[in-house]
């Protein structure tokens, strides 16, 4: 199956794809032989789902797990701090909704 040239697949086992440039919301991409319109803008280097994922599924990049999704994710949806969490250490961001978890809470 040919890969959309606007996307990068780092390992054959991966269930995420990387945007090779910034892709605007509404852009129609070919993902696994199916046309998918982007629900949100995906910036250069950000990830999107290669296939639908269920809550708790591991996300694979370079063929290795980089964390798990915290809710169901549709094919082509942006994968980031709002729906993907580390299996090791909390991620610190400025988002109030996904704030740094201090050591007292872990």
């Amino acid at each position: 199956m040919t890969l959309d040239p606007r996307l990068l697949l780092l390992s054959a086992d991966d269930n995420c794809l990387i945007a090779a440039s910034t892709l605007a919301a509404g852009t129609v991409l070919e993902i696994e032989g199916e046309a998918v319109a982007l629900a949100s803008t995906i910036a250069l280097g950000h990830k999107l789902a290669r296939r639908a994922l269920a809550a708790g599924d591991k996300v694979l990049r370079y063929g290795a797990p980089i964390g798990h999704v915290t809710r169901a994710v549709a094919k082509g949806e942006h994968l980031h701090t709002h729906n993907l969490e580390s299996d090791y250490l909390p991620t610190y961001t400025f988002d109030a909704g996904h704030a740094y978890v201090g050591r007292d809470e872990t």
């Binding site: 990387i18 990049r61 980089i66 994968l79 980031h80 701090t81 969490e85 090791y88 250490l89």
Partner: protein, 441 residues
């Protein structure tokens, strides 16, 4: 990368009494406590080349002082290093000892206030035994700020004349130690610049060089893959233990090396960042683990363990990228390959820093600071092998005396803070099979 140069002695280096050679011949001015920092900085400032002045639009209105592109044709650089702490610390003492006798350093001026705990007598003795010009000025005994600066400037002037008369000799690739670090990472770092450094590392190691990667805190999640690359079983176990130590340390600190800017760049989790950072190590077997100040005894790939031993005492292991660069230099690294996606501009005292930019948009924005445009890979204008080859070529060019962009811009960042380490465990180092070129003091 088959058509790489075959001349084994294609670099130029200044021979030192311990058998190593330096690709630079720097006069280091080292303050031994923050109280001596200003005096040391003023001495260095007398010799610092100035960037060209620019008008409001950034156009040059005067000549910059960097007219000699090749370091061997220019007057020796004068760099500022030092340690701010007044209380004693064995790690800081070892770091300054190693950096003061680094092959890129030709002469050392220590600046002391007079009541700090750093053992200046031991430092002076080490440098003197190495055959380098050395002096210590103690501000409390030298009449204060003005007279210490005047005496320091006079000493540095003489040291520069002495070093300027030295000529470099041929140096082989198997005498070179190269370090790598990443900073200001985004999601492109792990897919362009980092794997390209890995290719360059593999080519250098094949030709006998020692290459050092680090950031064990950023290798959380890669420990079992690294173990499978260890040259000896006991080394594999030591690698896993070293990453487990890092994971525990960062858990106590509250979070890992992940910075807010990393998430803006598309990285989501620590292990995702780790895998991208890990790509810098290439595919060669891992032959040893070193800690800050340990010098690789052979060629090959080494992991630098930067996370302190024991209970956390002094805060985060490395508070910024330059703390890690300083540790790579203390391990004898002659130059540092620095990959960045978001765009770091730092350089370093003592060893030149090569900036490899992973993100094509960042490269266009910061091209004056970047040596290599690895983001070409994303735009289909180059392969990983092409960029790996370019990194190899730039490393050789710097090893022959060309300056990196950060050197040309006058970057000489240096930071050294409190840490505590136990010596490396048994089985961490390979046995040198021939008489070692590099001597561990």
């Amino acid at each position: 990368m088959n058509e790489l140069p075959t001349d084994p002695a294609l670099l130029l280096g200044y021979p030192r009494s311990d058998g190593r050679k330096g690709i630079r011949n720097v006069v280091a001015v080292a303050y031994l406590v923050e109280c001596a920092h200003h005096v040391a900085r003023e001495i260095v400032a007398q010799f610092a080349p100035r960037l060209a002045e620019t008008d409001d639009d950034g156009a040059a209105v005067a000549e910059a002082d960097f007219d000699e592109i090749n370091v061997h044709d220019a007057a020796p650089d004068v760099h500022l290093i030092g340690f701010p702490g007044c209380y004693p610390n064995a790690y800081a003492q070892k770091m300054l000892s190693r950096i003061a006798t680094h092959p890129n350093v030709g002469a050392v001026l220590f600046v002391s206030l007079g009541c700090e705990s750093m053992d200046k007598h031991h430092l002076v003795e080490l440098v003197r035994e190495s055959g380098r010009p050395v002096e210590v000025l103690t501000i409390q005994e030298t009449g204060g700020t003005r007279s210490t600066i005047a005496r320091g400037v006079e000493w540095v002037r003489r040291a520069r004349r002495t070093l300027g008369a030295m000529r470099p000799v041929p140096m082989r690739l198997d005498e070179l130690i190269v370090g790598t670090v990443c900073g200001g990472s985004d999601s492109t770092s792990g897919i362009t610049a980092n794997p390209a450094v890995g290719r360059a590392f593999d080519a250098m190691i094949e030709r006998g060089a020692a290459c050092v990667f680090e950031e064990t805190g950023e290798l959380v999640g890669c420990e079992y893959h690294m173990k499978s690359r260890a040259a000896r079983p006991e080394l594999g176990d030591a690698i896993v233990a070293c990453v487990e130590k890092a994971a525990r340390y960062y858990t106590i600190m509250g979070h890992g090396s992940f910075a807010v800017g990393n998430a803006d760049g598309g990285l989501t989790t620590q292990e995702e960042k780790s895998l991208g950072a890990y790509a810098k190590s290439g595919a060669s077997p891992i032959v040893g683990i070193v800690k800050p100040g340990d010098i690789p005894p052979t060629g090959g790939l080494y992991l630098l363990d930067v996370v302190p031993d024991g209970e956390p005492r002094f805060g985060f292991p490395n508070i910024s990228d330059n703390a890690e660069i300083g540790e790579l230099i203390a391990c004898g690294c002659h130059l540092i390959l620095f990959t960045t996606g978001r765009g770091s501009v730092v350089g370093s005292a003592v060893s030149p820093v090569v900036k490899i930019c992973a993100n094509p948009a960042t490269y266009r924005n910061l091209s004056g600071d970047m040596d290599i445009d690895a983001g070409r890979i994303l735009e289909g204008r180059a392969s990983l092998d092409d960029v790996g080859r370019e990194i190899f070529d730039v490393t050789v060019a710097l090893g022959r005396g060309a300056r990196s962009k950060s050197e040309m811009l006058g970057h000489q960042e240096f930071i050294l803070t409190y840490k505590a380490f136990e010596p490396i465990g048994p089985g961490c180092l390979p046995i040198a099979s021939v008489s070692p070129v590099r001597v561990i003091a």
